[in-house]
């Protein structure tokens, strides 16, 4: 800063024509690119999103290498679907809750609030980041699952359509709840507050332990949360039709899955609208 370069200034005494607002979609696109760049440069974030489900998949499939009940399915096939479902939650709920809490604490949100950036562009940017990172993660898991863990890739477009809507609803529901959940994280070290409930959900939703082997009471409780339905939905896409008899209801329950996930979308959206704040706790 040796010299101050004069920057052209429009004198307020002679105002020019009011410049048009920047279209929000253009800003949203720029935010999406910025978010993705930030995401992939943050090592902790990338490791949490990508390697954790992969490591768990490898561990569980190796340790419990038997078959599931009388179905003749390998346990690893079921784990792979569970990891796909978990991946939806980690890349949306976990990533956003932790990231937005950090942004609230380090002043990023407050800085944005002082600019003419439309809030919708911020949220759109987050959605783009979550979509890109979760799709990458799903691709890695599906490829690994198919190559090493007996994950069956369907030729039926209907299965992939199911995958898409469950994935989209799940990502939306978990992203919105993650954004709302970020308000619960005060100060540093929000990790446990986010990761612990996720761990619990994984155990009660049939990711690690086959759902039907869980006590009925736990099955009922976990049915209120999205992960159970995401797991079931992924099983419906990647496991043979015969497996449906092993589901608690004796079928895939796609209608109910859509209903529960949609309920979480609505609840998450309402919570976000009511609680989302651009300021940190110390800012009042």
């Amino acid at each position: 800063m040796t010299t101050t370069v004069p920057v052209q200034h429009r004198s307020s005494a002679e105002p020019g024509p009011q410049p048009a607002d920047v279209p929000w979609l253009r800003i949203a696109g720029a935010r999406g690119r910025l978010e993705i760049r930030q995401f992939f440069r943050e090592k902790g974030q990338v490791i949490l999103t990508f390697s954790l489900p992969v490591v768990l998949l490898v561990l569980f499939s190796t340790i419990f290498s038997g078959s599931v009940g009388a179905s003749g399915l390998k346990a690893s096939q079921v784990y792979a679907t569970g990891m796909l479902a978990t991946g939806i939650m980690t890349s949306s709920f976990q990533t956003l809750a932790l990231q937005v809490a950090t942004e609230r604490r380090n002043g990023a949100l407050k800085r944005l609030r002082a600019t003419p950036m439309p809030p919708v562009a911020y949220f759109a940017g987050k959605v783009v980041m979550v979509l890109v990172s979760s799709l990458c993660q799903a691709a890695v898991l599906i490829a690994l699952g198919a190559a090493f863990f007996g994950l069956r890739l369907s030729h039926d477009p209907g299965h992939w359509l199911t995958f898409l809507w469950i994935y989209a609803l799940g990502i939306t529901a978990c992203s919105l709840t993650g954004l709302a959940y970020s308000s619960l994280i005060k100060g540093d070290g929000g990790g446990p507050i986010v990761i612990l409930p996720l761990m619990v959900l994984q155990f009660v939703s049939g990711v690690f332990v086959p759902f039907t082997e869980l006590p009925a009471r736990i099955q009922q409780i976990s049915a209120f949360f999205p992960l159970k339905w995401l797991c079931q939905g992924m099983r419906s896409v990647f496991l043979p039709e015969g497996y449906r008899r092993l589901e608690p209801a004796g079928g895939w329950e796609h209608g109910r899955t859509a209903l529960v996930l949609a309920a979480w979308v609505v609840a998450g959206l309402l919570l976000c609208l009511r609680t989302f704040s651009w300021k940190g706790r110390n800012d009042g």
Partner: protein, 281 residues
């Protein structure tokens, strides 16, 4: 003459039972640097945050660039710039990326390259924000504050933690913005900073503005007795007088040539500020 940049009457804000801002009146003219001084907890930050649109007020009128900051929308935000106290965001992005990105938010942004140059970060433009020193990071904050070509810039404690040389250069940058017509509301703890930069200063204490004046005249500074010091035949001498010119003329006649180690001082801005704060507390 256009409206004042900021016009505030009877501004009030309380948190629970604590009154943060009791009743603040304030006028900031277009094109001036106005420094808001005051101890911690006096209501400086609350006042500026209300004016920046971050916070609601309980009572009073506020017009910032002619609009109510509590209701103003994105058009208004495009006309102001805000440099907040210490920020640590965007650590993984480079200076260049960040400045270019923020330029996109504004309908009439400055050229990002020019702004990076103006804050003296051209040599660091490929560094990530996390790698910048405190002073460089602060200059990046200023770059983002001015990228939208604001008519009014809020600067909150901009030089905390700067070494003296960097501080001096930072002041040059701010003075340069004024020269281009930017109105600046500066809050600071440093009285030398207010003295170097501000056209006018306002002292806020216990939630009220206790005085507004130029740095030279605050607290009747220019009327206070001056102190003359010199070294006479009997050692160091000191004289307090309301008429320093006459005293000096007399003194000069008793010396041949230079008066040794002569200084004439009035109370410093710090002296008058401290006495004002002391009275108000």
């Amino acid at each position: 003459m256009a409206d004042p940049a900021i016009r505030v009457r009877g501004l009030r804000k309380q948190y629970g039972g604590t009154v943060a801002v009791a009743s603040v009146d304030l006028d900031v003219e277009r094109g001036e640097i106005f420094a808001l001084l005051g101890p911690n907890g006096a209501g400086k930050t609350t006042t500026t945050e209300i004016l920046e649109g971050f916070r609601d007020r309980d009572a009073g009128e506020a017009a910032v660039l002619g609009e109510d900051p509590g209701r103003a929308g994105s058009r208004w935000r495009a006309r102001i710039g805000v440099v907040l106290q210490e920020s640590k965001d965007l650590p993984e992005l480079t200076v260049r990326d960040i400045v270019h990105h923020f330029a996109l938010y504004y309908p009439d942004a400055r050229d990002p390259e020019e702004v990076v140059e103006a804050v003296g970060l051209t040599a660091k433009q490929h560094m990530r924000a996390a790698q910048l020193s405190g002073g460089q990071r602060r200059r990046l904050d200023v770059a983002l504050g001015i990228i939208g070509r604001p008519e009014l810039l809020f600067l909150d404690e901009p030089t905390t933690g700067f070494d003296p040389e960097v501080r001096r250069r930072f002041w040059e940058l701010i003075a340069g913005l004024r020269a281009e017509g930017t109105t600046i509301l500066l809050t600071t703890h440093y009285l030398d900073e207010a003295e170097a930069l501000a056209d006018r200063v306002g002292v806020i204490s216990a939630g009220r503005v206790v005085e507004v004046s130029t740095p030279e005249r605050l607290g009747g500074r220019h009327l206070a007795p001056a102190e003359i010091r010199w070294v006479g035949p009997n050692g160091p001498q000191r004289l307090r007088t309301p008429e320093p010119t006459r005293a000096l003329t007399e003194l000069a006649s008793s010396f041949e040539g230079e008066i040794p180690e002569l200084t004439v001082t009035r109370p410093s801005l710090e002296d008058v500020y401290l006495s004002m704060i002391g009275e108000a507390v």
